[in-house]
């Protein structure tokens, strides 16, 4: 970091830190940790006679047994984004109440890295794990867009969605999300690119389209279900943590918005 002239240096604030943490994603749920309520506390103190800041962040997760590889990724990504903020002299990130809290916190404090933290349990890196969930996030975003088209136009047949292009999608949250996921995988964002593609961007032959869409649907259901269950467990575990969570429309139940609205179901048949 280039030293700023004395007096011009912008002092790091709690908001700056939270903004930075907004770029840290839960790789599995594909959402910023700030929207999931995983940031428990942020504290900023001046050190070195006011020339730099010591930032202390505590993270919390929905259960003690959340997967430690995801827990480590979120904690180490948090430390990296805060350390990169101008004016930060030191960062302490601690994960609270997890079965591997001691291990992970010691590894972070020593900047031991993934392999240095987990020793014999780590093989190489967590990059492939990140890619696995980037692909799933793209699959889910793709299904949301295509199912949206099918619901909006009852004359559209499922076989036809294989021929849909990015330019056929209406502007909006779901299309924006798909474009971001495509970019994360390095897939083109051109209007004439197919929407329904595999992880490498290849479209499906017509007869494989219905099954590909159904498989994508199961991925979308899974991610949405997990995202809401994790939110709910965090609220159960930490009283008041719901105030730190952003509403997630994908996979929301009527009770998330309108607690008194009854569910309309199909007639039972035999």
């Amino acid at each position: 970091m280039t030293a700023a002239p004395a007096g011009i240096m912008h002092a790091v604030t709690e908001d700056d830190v939270r903004m930075g943490l907004g770029k840290v994603f839960d790789p599995e749920l594909d959402e910023p940790i700030t929207e999931l309520g995983f940031v428990r506390s942020v504290r900023v103190d001046d050190v070195d006679g006011g020339t730099g800041a010591l930032v202390r962040v505590h993270l919390r997760l929905p259960t003690s047994f959340c997967s430690p590889n995801f827990a480590y990724l979120m904690a180490s990504d948090s430390k990296d984004v805060i350390a990169a903020l101008p004016g930060v002299a030191a960062v302490v990130v601690e994960l609270d109440d997890h079965h591997d809290s001691d291990l992970i916190n010691a590894g972070l404090a020593a900047d031991a890295g993934y392999r240095g933290t987990f020793l014999h349990e780590a093989e190489d890196s967590l990059e492939e794990l990140r890619w696995t969930f980037r692909r799933k996030a793209h699959t889910a975003a793709m299904e949301r867009c295509l199912t949206g088209l099918l619901r909006a136009d009852p004359t559209l047949r499922v076989e036809d969605v294989g021929g849909m292009h990015l330019g056929d999608l209406p502007a909006g949250r779901e299309t924006d999300a798909l474009m971001r996921r495509r970019a994360a995988l390095g897939l083109p964002g051109d209007a004439d690119a197919s929407v329904l593609v595999d992880d490498d961007g290849r479209p499906y032959p017509a007869d494989a389209v219905p099954l590909a869409l159904r498989r994508a649907r199961s991925t979308r259901i899974s991610i949405d279900g997990n995202a809401h269950f994790c939110r709910g467990l965090l609220r159960t575990r930490y009283e008041g943590s719901g105030a730190d969570q952003a509403f997630r429309p994908e996979g929301a139940e009527p009770s998330d918005l309108f607690p008194l609205l009854p569910l309309t179901t199909k007639e039972s048949s035999t």
């Binding site: 003690s64 349990e121 093989e123 794990l129 099918l150 498989r215 259901i221 279900g225 269950f229 996979g251």
Partner: protein
Amino acid sequence: MYSKDGENYFIVDAHIALWDARPENQRNIHGKQFIDCFYDYHRNLSPESEVWSYEDYLYQGGERLMKDLFTDGYVDHAIFQPAYLGEFYHRGFGQTEEAYGLAAAHPDKLTYNHCFDPRNGEAGLDQLRADHERMGFTGVKLYTAEWHGESRGYKLSDPWASRYFEECRALGIKNIHVHKGPTIRPLDRDAFDVSDVDHAATDFTDLNFIVEHVGLPRLEDFCWIATQEPNVHGGLAVAMPFMHTRPRYFAQIIGELIYWIGEDRIQFSSDYALWTPRWLVEQFVDFQIPEDMTEYAPLTIEQKKKILGLNAAKMYDIPVPADLRLPDAEETATGPRQPERADLASAQ
């Protein structure tokens, strides 16, 4: 048995436990963390009227179990699926001897499944043979996220797991219930990955592999594997209570399962004592797919009867009164069961 609107349902609770998580049995902080995690699941997903006190949750004992399942819970038969967790609890979490004793005293109501850990090697195989000789079980519960010395998890594709499955085959243990942990080793990959089930199910086609929690949180991976392997089944432990708090999510879970693996391979369970069966049975019989989910057909009464008991009864040869039995659906053994349902428009 549960009766509603002139229909009778034979209930098999295919995944129950008799656990002891009281402080005196907790070996370390992880014993407390583990039961606290369960209790948060319980508090988060239960109707308010069904929430237990923390103290009640730590230990139930046989008498309370019999009352919750058979007196109050409509259950005709239940199957113990013990998780050992010896690294977290002095005398283990699932109380195997107590459960075995209770099942021996009530053979018409309870089936005892055992557990093993392939990391125990040759000595564990000897133990499995001796345990089987004494207890005579036909099923086992495997918890792949079990901690074991330096190891914090294993895979069903590990060579030693194959040795144990060969022994199961020789002993006549045919039902392998798998609870996918978060398995820690190797940490590089998804801890909830279910691909090792595919490996084992392909190598041991004469064994049944019942994936508990229907693979949650990896429903999509489970469905994809299970649709290709006729000997892979789905257990609804932990999935059932979503019916109350998140009915749209539950509808999609059931809809996907019926599409990918069909109505004959899904088994109900309360996961007692995580939850109690009474409200789950009542709510499931009343449950229906939301109207706007045109990709799923409505659940039929026959499908509910199979899921609530007939499927597990068939797997475990549990006698079912003749008037409550149902034939298998005439469906493909692999691949999607309702291919026409792949088409949203055709479901209009």
